[in-house]
């Protein structure tokens, strides 16, 4: 009974905290300049948080080491931008300069977003049929390969009427085109990103806590034992793969909205590596860890370490600080985390209110340490 009460209280706390966060965000958006770097970091951070969580669902909760995330983001981004591009733009010369546009329909933002996920999921289902029979590193390299094939396919000239070949796609419905329903007032863009990502992440969390999620974890911990317990390995792996790709597709679509232009060349393996590093920094198998890490990663990458790139900040006349030094420092930090803190920020744990309360009752474990010491000095069992 007490446990259920606690659970209810925790859920209430989470709801209040999340609503509070959204309200603060709304106030910030209404009062601050929209060009502030803070908003860029927040938007990109939350988009990466979604794809990191979707990768974590595969790598951390199902134990499938897949490196195909960039490919599914690519599908999502392209599906979104092609479907949401206004007909007048498609028929004009400004985007499809070298080709005649083959897809003559225009959809709203939400149908396009959802279809972006659906198409990515369909591709994942097809790719998963052969690939998911492979084990650990073979699976990694095969999914990586598929992502590369997808990229080549989207850049192919013969696909030009659909994808505009290797050229950029633009003038589709980006973040500034999002309106509050039934009005013509623009929706605050950062809030929109947070809402969409938040809903998607919430669905993933619900999935992880369901019986399917427990089956995924069982597969991760021991495939053979899971099979012996009656879990259909292939069905669950395929399901995890498809769902993860669905959300990767949506985050790809949001990245397209955020960037205003999209090009297949951007979705290289380096992108998958970045997402993987976010997952590792946050802790493999922790949703909150992935979210925190993606904000930290993006903030370091785009904002906090910027000063390292300014050659005017050099001291003692040394010419160390120049363009690119930020990335070197950043990758050294990442290596240190990978080597010495391999559990990441959160390990396999999640954020929990119980731990926060415990922290306030006993900051930094000082009191319990003292108690333990006292017990030890009395000669009792520790």
């Amino acid at each position: 009974m007490d446990l259920r009460k606690d659970k209810k209280k925790d859920a209430l706390c989470t709801a209040v905290a999340l609503t509070g966060m959204l309200v603060v965000l709304l106030i910030m958006e209404l009062t601050m300049k929209s060009t502030s770097i803070l908003f860029t970091v927040l938007k990109k951070g939350v988009i990466y948080a979604l794809v990191a969580v979707s990768m974590n669902l595969l790598n951390g909760f199902t134990g499938l080491f897949s490196l195909g995330q960039a490919g599914f983001m690519l599908i999502g981004a392209y599906t979104y931008s092609i479907l949401s591009m206004p007909i007048s733009v498609k028929m004009g010369e400004s985007v499809y300069k070298y080709y005649d546009c083959a897809i003559g329909i225009e959809l709203g933002i939400f149908p396009s977003l959802i279809l972006a996920g659906v198409i990515a999921a369909v591709f994942a289902a097809l790719i998963g049929l052969p690939v998911l029979r492979l084990k650990s590193d073979y699976l990694a390299i095969a999914t990586l390969g598929f992502a590369e094939i997808l990229r080549a396919f989207f850049q192919w000239d013969a696909m030009g009427p659909v994808t505009n070949g290797a050229n950029v796609l633009r003038q589709y419905k980006d973040l500034t085109k999002v309106k509050i329903p039934f009005t013509n007032i623009p929706f605050p863009p950062t809030l929109f990103c947070f809402l969409v990502s938040g809903i998607c992440i919430a669905i993933i969390v619900l999935l992880i806590n369901s019986s399917y999620g427990r089956a995924f974890k069982a597969i991760r911990d021991d495939e053979i034992a899971a099979e012996a317990m009656g879990i259909n390995l292939f069905k669950h792996k395929e399901m995890s793969f498809v769902i993860s790709s669905f959300f990767a597709g949506i985050s790809g679509a949001m990245l397209a909205m955020f960037q205003y232009t999209i090009q297949a060349a951007q979705f290289k393996t380096a992108m998958t590596y970045e997402i993987l590093l976010i997952v590792v920094i946050g802790g493999i198998g922790s949703v909150t860890g992935s979210c925190i890490a993606s904000f930290l990663f993006i903030a370091c990458n785009e904002w906090w370490l910027r000063f390292l790139d300014e050659s005017s900040n050099n001291i003692l006349g040394l010419n160390i600080l120049r363009s690119g030094f930020r990335k070197v420092v950043f990758s050294i930090i990442i290596m240190i985390i990978v080597l010495f803190f391999s559990k990441g920020i959160m390990g396999e744990r999640e954020f929990s209110w119980a731990r926060v309360r415990a922290f306030f009752r006993d900051p930094f474990g000082a009191r319990s340490r003292k108690a333990r010491k006292a017990a030890a000095s009395e000669g009792g069992e520790p």
Partner: protein, 294 residues
């Protein structure tokens, strides 16, 4: 005859690229054979060798620069193993692979920093870069030298692994890590030797490869690296002759595809081949069948 004249340059280029891939693929296959690790950083070691050459040849004569490049690359490979893989020896395989990805990220970013993001022009190697004409096809001399040099190095390596004590130790470690350790083999030094050999061959491969391509960028190691890994898997990972044959097949097919005008798909083809191989014969051409114990 006209068909031969049209397709010969592509086939020659294919054989040459195949030889260069073979030298890199050996590094992958040996490391995988011993550590069961896809060394994602190997392609970047190959790129780093190219960068060393660019920077060293700017100030030193080639006779000094080339040996120095080989030495530095070997040192780099050795240091990467000691710093990034050795501390994780008892960690799960996934952490080591992530560490490899981290090293790859680090090397690329360092290269980006030192080059300022610009493509660096690779120095002309006097004898190798000369053009020659065979059967009416014009090509660089390096195209002809590569397969010969590759074969010599591979035969040398095979003899080394077959007949020396160190080679025997390598085979023992790749068969069974724990038992080899119990038998008194210094596993760590064997692993270091593997990385040293792999890096040395990658450095030779990079000398040949970049002479053909004329410029080095921080990301120019990524694709060849992945392709060489595919070659290693194709030939049966852990098998040196397999890696060499796989590399030649991939190199030749890729260039034939380019010759047919499907350049966009030359990379994709490699991965399609990989996926087919993994599905049809997961152990590759010469791989040993591994059985899972329950």
């Amino acid at each position: 005859m006209s068909f031969l004249q049209n397709s010969l340059p592509y086939i020659l280029a294919g054989i040459s690229v195949g030889g260069q891939y073979a030298l890199i693929a050996i590094g992958y296959t040996m490391v995988y054979g011993i550590l069961r690790l896809i060394n994602f950083a190997h392609g970047d070691v190959f790129m780093a060798a190219g960068m060393f050459m660019v920077f060293l040849s700017a100030s030193l004569p080639l006779g000094v620069a080339v040996p120095l490049v080989l030495l530095l690359t070997v040192l780099l490979g050795f240091l990467i193993e000691r710093a990034a893989y050795k501390p994780l020896r008892s960690a799960p395989r996934m952490s080591v692979m992530i560490s490899a990805i981290g090293v790859s990220y680090l090397l690329q970013n360092c290269a980006l920093y030192f080059t300022g993001g610009l493509a660096k022009v690779y120095p002309q190697l006097p004898w190798l870069s000369d053009t020659v004409t065979i059967l009416g096809a014009v090509t660089k001399r390096v195209t002809l030298i590569t397969p010969i040099l590759t074969l010599v190095l591979v035969i040398g390596l095979s003899l080394f692994i077959r007949y020396t004590k160190v080679g025997m130790a390598m085979r023992a470690v790749s068969k069974d890590f724990e038992t080899a350790r119990l038998m008194g083999i210094k596993v760590n030094s064997v692993i270091s030797t593997t990385f040293i050999i792999g890096s040395l061959l990658a450095a030779v491969g990079s000398l040949l490869y970049f002479t053909n391509y004329a410029s080095v960028t921080p990301t120019s190691g990524g694709m060849p690296g992945l392709k060489c890994f595919v070659a290693a898997v194709f030939g049966g990972i852990g098998s040196i002759p397999g890696a060499v044959i796989g590399a030649f097949i991939i190199g030749i097919c890729e260039n034939i595809i380019k010759g047919l005008g499907w350049t966009t798909f030359s990379d994709a083809f490699t991965f399609a081949l990989l996926i087919v191989i993994l599905l049809v014969k997961p152990t590759g051409l010469f791989g040993e069948k591994a059985t899972d114990k329950v």
